[in-house]
């Protein structure tokens, strides 16, 4: 059962080949059997999952159907889930039971999706290797000595090991796409504003987006159809007609114009990864696509701009974790200052503290113009680069990450870690949709191909990804031992 995609499992439920309870139990058993090795879950909600599965079976028995009815999922532990611990990978929220559901998880719940549990992640989504989690690192099922990427590393590893058929993730600078690439999955970061951020614990509000992490583009389309849509509780969500992302999956790619930004194939890209990407582009040519060389001249400014904007926003977003109303509070504070200093000092890990300090500095009076304002100007330049490119091409392609999964502890220097998101960050700064799909392997480790589209062009990205997946089988391969 665990070798099936969401689409295949949904068909199985419809054909009564198995029930949602059987399906859910099968994945709970797999978690029980395998997660000790990869540490992808922070919380497993076995009992509520089975209860939800029974409810889904009852709905189906009553004649109801739906694309996700009765299918099990794992949720990144960044989404508030009512009555369930929502830790965001931090000691700060180790004791936090969310009193409400995030819009994303509420929508999935309403569609009859079954939550298996909450997945491990970099603390407050700050990291690219899942090593900053308070709950310990996650291991990549393709090689247990390597990282799964981050920050949605738990979701990526869980789906890669088929401990869940699909999972939710969030992406602020590459946190869906980079782990999807490193774990051989299909991951989609939608256009900023396509999916509600309500109930998703904020890292950098102007960059955060939730999206699906799946085995295939078709599964991503199914999930996104439920996750996306305007939410009156999120002022930055965009009011537009709902889309059937599956409708265009079968369209031929004849005449599709693919742009290859030369800046994404330069220094810093692993040569073997570059080869895999070139081969994948070759497949697209065979599918009838036209390939155009393009330039995104301000690409080199993306990482520096991001490491001003994201920490600035996080320094403010994380101020609410003060030990007063919820979360970690130090023992016996002797005054207010002590309460703040020790609660936050004990509750946050090193990377989170580093970013709070960078962000606080960048917003400080006297530095604001030189850092925050300048970074916002760079953001506009990057956005303009993309808009210009999209006058020539339909989809931009390139590597998702500069290399394959690296070894745990390998990137101890923060800057080298930050550079693992060098190709993904620009799309967040511009608010564009981006996707990573499996495109091959280097030394047994997956390589991701990144697809970037224009605003709200998720349908086109999914179509391009799906067509590629009709002629390749990288996305159907499983790591040994799972």
């Amino acid at each position: 059962m665990h070798r099936k995609t969401l689409r295949e499992l949904a068909d199985g439920l419809r054909a009564k080949a198995f029930s949602s309870v059987e399906l859910t139990q099968a994945f709970l058993d797999r978690i029980q059997a395998h997660d000790e090795r990869i540490n992808s879950f922070i919380t497993v909600t076995a009992e509520p999952a089975l209860e939800a599965a029974r409810a889904a079976d009852a709905r189906r028995a009553a004649g109801e159907d739906g694309p996700l009815l009765g299918l099990p999922f794992a949720h990144k532990d960044i989404f508030c889930t009512e009555g369930v611990k929502t830790s965001c990978g931090s000691r700060m929220l180790d004791n936090f039971i969310a009193p409400y559901d995030a819009t994303v998880t509420a929508k999935l719940k309403a569609a009859g999706a079954v939550m298996l549990g909450k997945t491990n992640m970099d603390e407050f989504a700050m990291g690219s290797s899942n090593e900053t989690s308070y709950y310990g690192p996650v291991r990549n099922p393709w090689d247990l000595d390597t990282v799964p990427g981050g920050s949605s590393g738990g979701s990526a590893a869980a789906v890669a090991a088929r401990l869940a058929p699909a999972a939710t993730g969030t992406d602020t600078g590459g946190s869906i796409r980079q782990p999807a690439a490193l774990c051989g999955l299909t991951g989609l970061k939608p256009t900023y504003g396509a999916v509600s951020r309500y109930g998703m614990i904020a890292f950098a509000s102007s960059l955060d987006q939730a999206g699906p992490m799946t085995q295939s583009a078709e599964d991503a389309a199914l999930m996104l159809g439920v996750m996306a849509g305007f939410d009156p509780r999120d002022s930055t969500s965009v009011e537009r007609p709902l889309e059937d992302y599956c409708a265009g999956l079968g369209n031929a790619l004849q005449g599709l114009r693919i742009g290859l930004p030369r800046e994404y194939f330069g220094e810093g890209l692993d040569g073997t990864v570059a080869k895999v990407i070139e081969t994948a582009i070759g497949e697209y040519r065979k599918l009838g696509a036209e390939v155009v060389d393009i330039s995104l001249p301000n690409s080199h400014l993306a990482v520096p701009a991001y490491y001003v904007v994201a920490p600035a926003e996080c320094s403010s977003n994380l101020s609410r974790f003060d030990g007063v109303r919820f979360g970690h509070r130090c023992e016996n504070p002797h005054d207010l200052q002590d309460l703040y200093v020790r609660s936050r000092g004990e509750g946050f890990g090193a990377e989170v503290k580093r970013r709070i300090m960078i962000g606080t500095y960048a917003l400080s009076s006297g530095y604001y113009d030189a850092y925050y304002l300048k970074a916002q100007q760079v953001r506009r330049l990057i956005r303009e680069d993309f808009l210009k490119a999209f006058e020539q091409v339909d989809v931009i392609m390139g590597p998702t990450a500069p290399g394959t999964a690296f070894r745990l502890g390998e990137k101890s220097d923060p800057v080298s870690m930050y550079l693992s998101d060098i190709y993904t960050i620009a799309t967040n700064l511009a608010g564009l949709p981006g996707m990573s799909i499996p495109a091959g392997f280097v030394n047994g480790l997956p390589v991701g191909l990144q697809l970037i589209g224009n605003y709200f062009a998720e349908g086109r990205l999914l179509n391009a990804a799906h067509q590629y997946q009709q002629v390749t089988d990288w996305h159907r391969r499983l790591p040994g031992g799972f």
Binding site: R197, S206, S315, L363, Y372
Partner: protein, 478 residues
């Protein structure tokens, strides 16, 4: 040396929306602690603010009423600081781009002249919660009911030159926000609060002196006292050869002094930046015109109209338009009574005296405007003399009913029948031969004696004008 005082005020008005500025929780005052705070107000992880359109409408209303420019685009910013009653660790406010800016408010000075006070800006922001330091034995309780209540912070230019001007300005703003129905103006409940920036400089000098910011002055009386204290303190410092330090000072109404806030409470670097959770507020001309259509007649326009329509003095018209309720009361009394001047005299005279004595607001007046109008009618048709009218008014105040009923019941109707008055005059003259002799011998002040006797004989009910006229005729003729 002669010193000049320079004052600018920052007034925080709580907007009278039903729900909070960024959440759906109610804003009712006085609820049990933390019963009006939802997930958004508590700053739970993952929650997001959604702007209350009504708060925007109210801010625009204020801007239009004060000649401000309404910003086509304004931006919410985060003001970052830690405090236990500030749930998110930042306050959502407006910084670089406020919703309205650049208007003015005209105040009437004691010498009868009008003065224009410039408005720098007015911006929308959320209120914080309250820290409760009592009843918790060395700990602090946090009540977040107030957190997220919409505020309009109205910032004036440093245009005021005395505490009295500051009070006049504050009263005018208070009156205006109530006219506009955007704030209940309740100062006890903190719906209308004020900080004052105060400095002094040698008269004739154009640069401003170093200012201090006075906080916690929440009544008209305290504003005056706090500013006067602070001005004297600054002059003492300067004349003693010292320098005024720019600082925030707290007014203590019990000790009647200002003192510096501890440095910990002082403002530091708020690290303002645009709130990425909220879109810029974009207002088009159509929206602004719609709001303009909802503006009531404003105090200044009403005052002008009262002067023109009712032939009132600027002073009376100003007094009657100080609040919308008072103006409405006056207009109803004038309409029913059919005489604006008479109504104005009664409202600013007898009625104001009564309300003042009883400590009542006009809305709680024991005599309704319609009832007062009924009384005025009886004055105008000579049913009542001025003296009788006051008597009737007092009965009305103690709940004896309408003027007509009291007149009927007590038989207070004025005697205006010439024949009847002449008969009484005859009786009085018949009983006073000696006084007639003296009067005719030149003691003209005895005329008052005859009037008094006639009034006494009629228990004050004779029409005084008629009595005068008839008496004169009789005394001259015989």
């Amino acid at each position: 040396m002669e010193w000049e005082t320079v004052i600018g005020l920052e007034i925080h008005t709580q907007l009278a929306t039903r729900s909070k500025i960024f959440s759906g929780a109610a804003t009712r005052y006085g609820a049990a602690p933390n019963t009006q705070a939802c997930a958004v107000d508590l700053g739970l992880p993952g929650v997001l603010p959604v702007l209350n359109a009504e708060a925007v409408r109210m801010a625009v209303k204020f801007g239009l009423a004060t000649g401000c420019t309404i910003a086509p685009m304004s931006v919410f910013a985060r003001k970052n600081y830690f405090y236990p009653d500030l749930p998110k660790g930042y306050q959502i406010s407006q910084f670089e781009l406020p919703i309205v800016h650049g208007g003015h408010i005209d105040i009437l000075l004691e010498d009868g002249k009008s003065k224009r006070v410039g408005l720098t800006r007015a911006h929308l922001e959320e209120d914080a919660g309250k820290s409760l330091h009592e009843d918790f034995h060395g700990m602090t309780g946090i009540d977040l009911n107030r957190a997220g209540t919409p505020l309009l912070e109205i910032v004036s230019e440093p245009d005021m030159r005395s505490a009295a001007e500051a009070v006049a300005y504050m009263k005018k703003v208070h009156s205006l926000v109530r006219y506009l129905e955007i704030c209940d103006g309740n100062m006890q409940e903190g719906s209308f609060r004020c900080d004052a920036n105060v400095s002094v400089r040698p008269r004739g000098q154009s640069e401003f002196g170093t200012r201090t910011e006075l906080k916690n002055i929440n009544s008209f009386r305290f504003v005056e006292r706090a500013i006067n204290f602070e001005v004297e303190r600054q002059i003492d410092v300067l004349e003693g050869g010292g320098k005024v330090i720019q600082e925030t000072r707290l007014f203590d109404p019990d000790k009647n002094e200002t003192r510096p806030m501890r440095s910990k409470e002082e403002a530091n670097d708020y690290r303002y930046f645009p709130d990425p959770d909220l879109l810029p507020v974009e207002l088009d001309a159509a929206f602004i015109e719609t709001v303009r259509g909802t503006l009531p007649e404003l105090p200044d326009a009403k005052q002008q109209r009262f002067m023109a329509d009712y032939e009132l003095s600027a002073y009376d018209a100003g007094a009657l338009t100080a609040s919308r309720e008072l103006a409405d009361y006056f207009e109803e009394a004038a309409r029913v009574g059919g005489d604006g001047k008479l109504a104005a005299n009664w409202v600013t005279g007898e009625l104001a005296g009564l309300l003042n004595r009883e400590g009542l607001e006009i809305t709680a007046s024991p005599v309704s405007a319609t009832s007062l109008g009924g009384l005025l009618l009886r004055i105008r048709d000579n049913t009542l003399s001025g003296k009788l009218a006051k008597q009737v008014f007092e009965d009305m105040c103690s709940g004896a009913g309408e003027a007509d009923a009291i007149i009927e019941q007590k038989g207070l109707k004025q005697i205006t029948d010439t024949g009847a008055i002449e008969k009484i005059i005859q009786d009085v003259l018949d009983a006073s031969p000696k006084q007639i002799e003296q009067y005719r011998a030149g003691q003209e002040k005895l005329f008052g004696y005859f009037v008094g006797q006639v009034m006494k004989a009629t228990q004050g009910k004779a029409n005084p004008a008629q009595v005068n006229e008839l008496l004169k005729k009789r005394l001259a003729g015989d």
